[in-house]
């Protein structure tokens, strides 16, 4: 009996200490979560989607979670300072751009009690997870739409930088289009920026003058949608639902929805069940979704796209399944095979049917 009582007393004494140790800033009030963005929040685009998800997450936990964000943080020496600042006053920190990888790793090592999540990187630690979206799955479906809608059999892609994520998207777009229309070629114009409406617009004009009649973009502004609307050329948006920038011509958008992920991660962190992990979500987990279709999209095409979407979710169809050939016609994947996640992550070659260089 005596031992039990002593144990009880010890438990009673230690309980507040333990509660304090779980999250230093937590005992006093809500669970604090910080976000760091590479661009300004604005009304659409990559950073907007992260911020939109942050708001949904904060609403979901009504009062139990308090969020903070810092926007437009340059990738470089400034990033580390801002991450450290966020770590000093938050229980959990999300850094949402690839260029924040090494600074996040450094700061995570200095704040072992804070949980870190870095988007689109590949370095992890006990308190540092990584997460990213399989945009290419949505982009494959965009390709199906483009392949069906093109009359000139030339479709265009405005790319930011030739990094693997963008290369995956060009390839998936080409593969989706050529699955339904083998005559399609994809023309690529690089703009060497994530956000510059002027350059993106110029790239769209170039592609249109080369005969492209469906345009997609892997940059952050709505300039391509606006160009398409003015010239009556189909477009497919990216990151956010871009329909308001192209009410007649924007057929759909490949949208990233981070809210489910943020809610899950913060819930796990508050429950104490959070563990370092890597997440690469796609159509199945709802991290990548298609925005509502434009009324101009014919019903048979819409039905076909939804069927292919279901095939990808069910695992019956992989965007990067064989036979896959590169631009020179050399076989990269034989029929029956498919690229592994590792191979997709480091993708640095273009598939047959793409005109452009990395």
């Amino acid at each position: 009996m005596q031992t039990t009582r002593r144990d009880l007393m010890r438990t009673a004494l230690l309980a507040p200490v333990a509660a304090g140790a779980i999250g230093s800033a937590r005992a006093a009030g809500p669970y604090k979560v910080g976000f760091m963005y590479v661009g300004p929040v604005e009304e659409a685009g990559y950073t907007y989607q992260h911020d939109h998800a942050r708001k949904l997450m904060e609403e979901k936990f009504a009062g139990k979670v308090k969020t903070t964000y810092v926007e437009n943080v340059p990738e470089g020496a400034d990033a580390e300072r801002v991450i450290r600042k966020l770590a000093q006053s938050n229980d959990m920190v999300f850094t949402t751009s690839f260029g924040y990888m090494n600074p996040t790793v450094k700061v995570a090592a200095q704040f072992p009690k804070v949980k870190f999540e870095h988007a689109t990187g590949y370095k992890r630690a006990a308190n540092l997870s990584t997460y990213s979206a399989r945009f290419y799955e949505g982009r494959f479906l965009a390709g199906v739409i483009a392949g069906r809608m093109t009359k000139s059999n030339v479709i265009g892609f405005v790319g930011a930088f030739p990094i693997p994520e963008v290369v995956q998207n060009i390839n998936a777009y080409a593969l989706g289009a050529r699955m339904v229309n083998p005559k399609v070629t994809v023309k690529v114009v690089w703009v060497s920026t994530w956000y510059d409406p002027g350059k993106e617009r110029a790239a769209a004009d170039t592609l249109m003058s080369q005969g492209a009649d469906v345009l997609v973009t892997h940059t952050d502004s709505a300039a391509v949608q606006e160009a398409g609307e003015q010239r009556g050329i189909w477009t497919i948006g990216f990151n956010s639902d871009m329909s308001k920038y192209g009410p007649k011509t924007c057929l759909t958008s490949v949208v990233s929805d981070w809210s489910g992920y943020y809610i899950q991660e913060v819930q796990d962190a508050m429950d104490g069940t959070w563990k370092s992990h890597d997440t690469w979500g796609g159509l199945k987990s709802g991290m990548v979704v298609l925005a509502p279709f434009n009324a101009a999209l014919p019903k048979p095409v819409a039905d076909e796209v939804m069927a292919r979407r279901q095939d990808i979710i069910d695992g019956k169809l992989a965007p990067f399944q064989g036979p896959l050939k590169d631009q020179a016609g050399a076989e990269k994947v034989p029929a029956g095979g498919a690229l592994s996640d590792q191979q997709i992550l480091g993708m640095n070659w273009l598939v047959q049917g793409v005109e452009g260089k990395i």
């Binding site: 910080g34 300004p40 929040v41 903070t68 964000y69 810092v70 926007e71 437009n72 340059p74 990738e75 470089g76 020496a77 400034d78 580390e80 300072r81 801002v82 450290r84 600042k85 966020l86 006053s89 690839f98 260029g99 090494n102 590949y122 930088f161 030739p162 990094i163 693997p164 290369v167 060497s192 992550l345 480091g346 993708m347 640095n348």
Partner: protein, 364 residues
């Protein structure tokens, strides 16, 4: 009543000291009104903006770290401006310094030899100088204006960096992401205080303040630079070569910007990435003029500018204010500082309204 600005016969000595004070008071009032309108306590906001960043050794270290590239670039720019040689392209020279120094670090690092780091730093200086030598040549041989050539070469330098990190210098283990390998420890600048990011480069940068001041004030070269700028006719009469001054100014400011570039990548960055400068070379132009083209003034201006950046981050993190507010605050501070300077050379007069002749009303 109307307000008129009248030129003073000579700059008002009192105003040289009073104008920054006046600017500070006006800024505090303006910023307080802004915060009050946004529903924040102005005292808390001012504390976050100006005091909080200075209250820890980490904050002070970050302040010095942020001011260093601004200081180095601005001193070089200012020396040029004194001779009316306008180097707008410190951003490009900064980038080239990072490329050449970073390239040296990638090639030579890892062996642990003592001489590697000095070579890396010298390579950075040489890169900045070489990039500034192009406008110098174009100016002295073809009379091409350096404002255009230095500015345009900045974009070339940034594209060159992009090519290297996307192409030949890409980390082979980096999943094709645009970045180089991380530099070996023997090519990184040693830290002054453990636990902060303050590195020895900050001290070297500080050294350029007295050196720049001596160069301008007490040497023959400095005298020539000032004379070519202030009185080109007299300089020609005295036989000072304008070409030589152009070369000296551009090489000097290019070298300093290159030094800033290598300090950034061999300091806090530790590798080359597509984005290594948030526009230090351009912000340094503001810093140079804020510091009245005087090295000691520039030291204060660069610290102030760095403080505004850090305080702006604090506003976002601590008070959850959007970045537009930080931008507004920064703009307000710079506006008051530069506007108050008008009072040094002009006096404000309130005059009675001018009587407009009846038939001439449309010109009023």
């Amino acid at each position: 009543m109307r307000i008129s600005l009248q030129a003073r016969a000579r700059p008002a000595r009192a105003m040289v000291w009073l104008s920054p004070l006046l600017a500070a008071v006006l800024s505090v009032i303006g910023v307080s009104i802004l915060f009050a309108l946004l529903g924040r306590n102005p005292l808390v906001a001012l504390d976050t903006l100006f005091i909080a960043p200075l209250q820890s050794s980490e904050g002070l270290a970050e302040l010095a770290l942020k001011a260093t590239p601004l200081l180095l670039c601005a001193i070089g720019i200012a020396i040029g401006c004194r001779a009316e040689v306008w180097n707008i392209g410190a951003e490009g020279q900064f980038t080239l310094g990072a490329i050449t120094g970073g390239g040296a670090a990638l090639v030579l690092g890892g062996g642990g030899q003592w001489w590697v780091l000095p070579v890396v730093v010298l390579a950075g200086i040489a890169g900045g100088m070489a990039w500034a030598a192009i406008p110098a040549l174009l100016k002295t041989r073809f009379n091409a204006h350096e404002i255009l050539t230095t500015l345009m070469l900045s974009y070339v330098a940034i594209q060159l960096l992009g090519y290297l990190v996307h192409g030949p210098w890409k980390d082979p283990e980096g999943y094709s992401f645009p970045q180089t390998r991380q530099f070996a420890p023997d090519t990184l600048l040693p830290l002054l205080i453990e636990g902060t990011r303050l590195h020895v480069g900050v001290l070297l940068a500080l050294l350029t303040v007295p050196l720049g001041s001596i160069l301008l004030g007490r040497t023959m070269i400095g005298f020539r630079i000032r004379t070519v700028g202030a009185a080109p006719g007299a300089a020609r009469y005295a036989g000072f070569s304008r070409e030589r001054v152009v070369w000296i100014c551009l090489l000097l400011s290019g070298g300093l910007a290159g030094l800033a570039g290598i300090f950034e990548v061999a300091g806090p960055d530790g590798q080359l990435t597509p984005v290594i400068s948030p526009g230090y070379g351009f912000a340094a132009i503001i810093v140079a003029f804020l510091g009245r083209l005087n090295p000691f003034g520039i030291l204060f201006a660069s610290l102030l500018m760095a403080l505004i950046y850090l305080g702006g981050e604090g506003l976002q993190v601590s008070l959850q204010l959007p970045i537009a507010v930080t931008g507004t605050v920064q703009g307000m501070l710079l506006f008051f500082l530069l506007a108050a300077d008008v009072l040094i050379n002009y006096r404000v007069r309130l005059l009675p309204a001018r009587r407009v002749p009846a038939g001439d009303a449309r010109h009023a």
